[in-house]
């Protein structure tokens, strides 16, 4: 099920192109699969807020079941789905949300405004030259997960 607004990427070239063509805007890449319930909930929020953040952010969905995308799944150490990775000018933006993994956002957002707040904080930090920003959301709205190193 492809969103009318959000592009779904299935190839590495497509991901490379969108990273290279997004200039001075936050790039939000959602890694997930459409068969997952949490992914669908997250996609719903992303679709609804894409227009609101369109002036300073671009949102795209990446299908992890595609073979050509596995390079990025491995490179970004994505083990849990859905995972959202943020970029700004082809540089990865880290988000300290109090969880073990600062490199991405794992899980869904509670509501639209949470996503907009996170993207805004990332944009503001990036414009000031910060590569890691602090998440503005309260801990109860941040999904909890356990990170396992090589299934240990």
């Amino acid at each position: 099920m492809e969103s009318v607004l959000l592009p779904t990427l299935t190839k590495k070239e497509e991901i490379d192109r969108i990273i290279n063509n997004t200039i001075d805007k936050v790039l939000v890449l959602r890694f997930g699969r459409t068969s997952d319930e949490n992914c669908l909930l997250l996609d719903d929020i992303l679709e609804k807020s894409a227009r609101d953040v369109s002036k300073f952010a671009t949102v795209a969905l990446v299908d992890v079941d595609s073979d050509q995308v596995q390079v990025y799944v491995n490179y970004f150490d994505i083990t849990l789905f859905p995972s959202t990775v943020f970029f700004f000018n082809a540089h990865h933006m880290k988000l300290d949300s109090g969880t073990a993994d600062h490199t991405k956002w794992v899980g869904k957002f509670h509501e639209k405004q949470d996503f907009i707040d996170v993207v805004e904080v990332i944009f503001r930090g990036a414009m000031k030259g910060k590569m890691i920003v602090h998440c503005p959301l309260p801990p109860e709205r941040i999904p909890k997960f356990q990170l396992l190193y090589k299934d240990v």
């Binding site: 390079v71 970004f76 000018n89 933006m93 993994d101 490199t103 030259g129």
Partner: protein, 400 residues
């Protein structure tokens, strides 16, 4: 004492009412501290520079007073940003006279001070926007001198021009079939020629005012004489005039054009060049973004660009289980990838070898095995059954 301290600590921030900033052109509730904001300071300097250029134009006429024609009165206007009023030179005989008087007035001075107190952090540029009384006195003296000269010379000249017009009219009527020269029209034609002289001689940056000015009295006589003398030569000249549809002198590649080019370059220097973006140069990936924008522009123009996006390109990413810089994490990932590739290759090689061996055995079997008959000597013949057994065992081993 403790209560006072707590009260002092708990003093809430003053809520300011919304106020409109004339410089930034928006409403804000920052209160008096708004004038110290960097954006406001930038806009204020641009705002004041614009008004300074207008005052510079008026100062030109302060130093070089000139007559104001009634037709150009309505076009001679200045908006004073400090007093919020339009100054139009209606009913004045000299150019910018009302503007000069306004900028010298005490009310204008008061308004400048009020404006700078409200909007500007510093009061040291007050003198840039006002005209001193001494300058005004000099200007008045110049104007009176001008007026006296003009009173004596203008009337004679006008009569001369009228007579010349009549002469010219008759001359051209008798000589050729030319346009009807109404004396009033000719008067209108006259300023055009003078205005070009004005541009050539004054070398000023005047844009709006200069084009609609009347001629300087000192230049009238030569101009008039020139006109009368040229009237006969004009018909023979190839340059022509407005009525013949010839291009104006300031557009021909002569002195006038050179001046215009210099004026154009001066004006262009005033206009801020908007090539540099206003984004923070210290933002994340700023250098990359600038390079990428240039590449995209080149691509739009159709020029070939060396694309850096190979199949192995990876963005700048800090991995989860790697410590160190992001370059290190990328190198780690590439190492892992190479190992994977190598192991994959080795596995594939082995599998290929195995496949090859299998295929050989299969091919041997499928070709209806040629019975290998080794050389068996006569002596071996007696041992033949034993030899056949050995060979069969060997064949079985190779087949596995």
């Amino acid at each position: 004492m403790e209560e006072k301290n707590t009260k002092a600590k708990k003093k809430p921030s003053k809520k300011n009412e919304f106020d409109f900033c004339k410089v930034c052109r928006f409403h804000h509730d920052h209160g008096p501290r708004h004038k110290y904001f960097p954006r406001h300071k930038e806009l204020l300097s641009a705002f004041l520079n614009r008004f300074r250029s207008k005052i510079a134009d008026v100062r030109f006429f302060l130093k070089n007073p000139s007559f104001l024609r009634p037709q150009e009165e309505s076009q001679n206007r200045v908006w004073c940003v400090f007093c919020d009023e339009d100054i139009v030179d209606l009913g004045s005989s000299f150019a910018c006279s009302k503007a000069i008087n306004h900028f010298a007035s005490s009310e204008h001075h008061k308004n400048i001070k009020q404006f700078l107190w409200k909007h500007g952090p510093s009061m040291d540029c007050v003198d840039d926007f006002k005209i001193s009384d001494a300058d005004v006195a000099k200007w008045v003296r110049k104007c009176t001198a001008l007026g006296n000269k003009d009173a004596s010379s203008c009337t004679g000249q006008l009569s001369r021009t009228s007579s010349d017009i009549h002469n010219k009219f008759e001359f051209e009527r008798t000589e050729k079939e030319t346009h009807f020269f109404n004396p009033n029209n000719l008067n209108d034609v006259k300023p055009l020629l003078y205005n070009t002289n004005e541009y050539q001689i004054s070398h000023s940056g005047v844009t709006h005012y200069g084009s609609h000015l009347n001629v300087d009295a000192t230049q009238l006589p030569p101009g008039v004489i020139g006109m009368t003398s040229n009237s006969s030569s004009h018909s023979g000249d190839s340059s022509g005039n407005v009525h013949s549809g010839a291009p104006p002198p300031w557009l021909t590649p002569n002195d006038g054009n050179i001046f215009n080019q210099s004026e154009i370059t001066r004006v262009q220097e005033k206009i801020p060049v908007k090539t540099t973006s206003k984004l923070n140069p210290h933002r994340v990936g700023a250098a990359w973004a600038e390079r990428r924008k240039i590449e995209m522009e080149m691509e739009k123009r159709g020029e070939a660009v060396n694309s850096n996006t190979d199949a192995d390109w990876l963005p700048n990413f800090g991995r989860v289980w790697q410590s160190g810089t992001r370059k290190d994490s990328r190198k780690e990932f590439e190492k892992e990838k190479r190992k994977l590739v190598v192991t994959a290759e080795s596995i594939s090689m082995e599998s290929e070898e195995q496949k090859l061996v299998k295929t050989e055995s299969i091919s041997v079997e499928s070709e209806e095995p040629v019975q290998i008959q080794p050389y068996v000597s006569k002596r071996a013949l007696c041992h033949l059954p034993f030899v056949i057994l050995i060979f069969s065992q060997r064949a079985m081993k190779s087949g596995e």
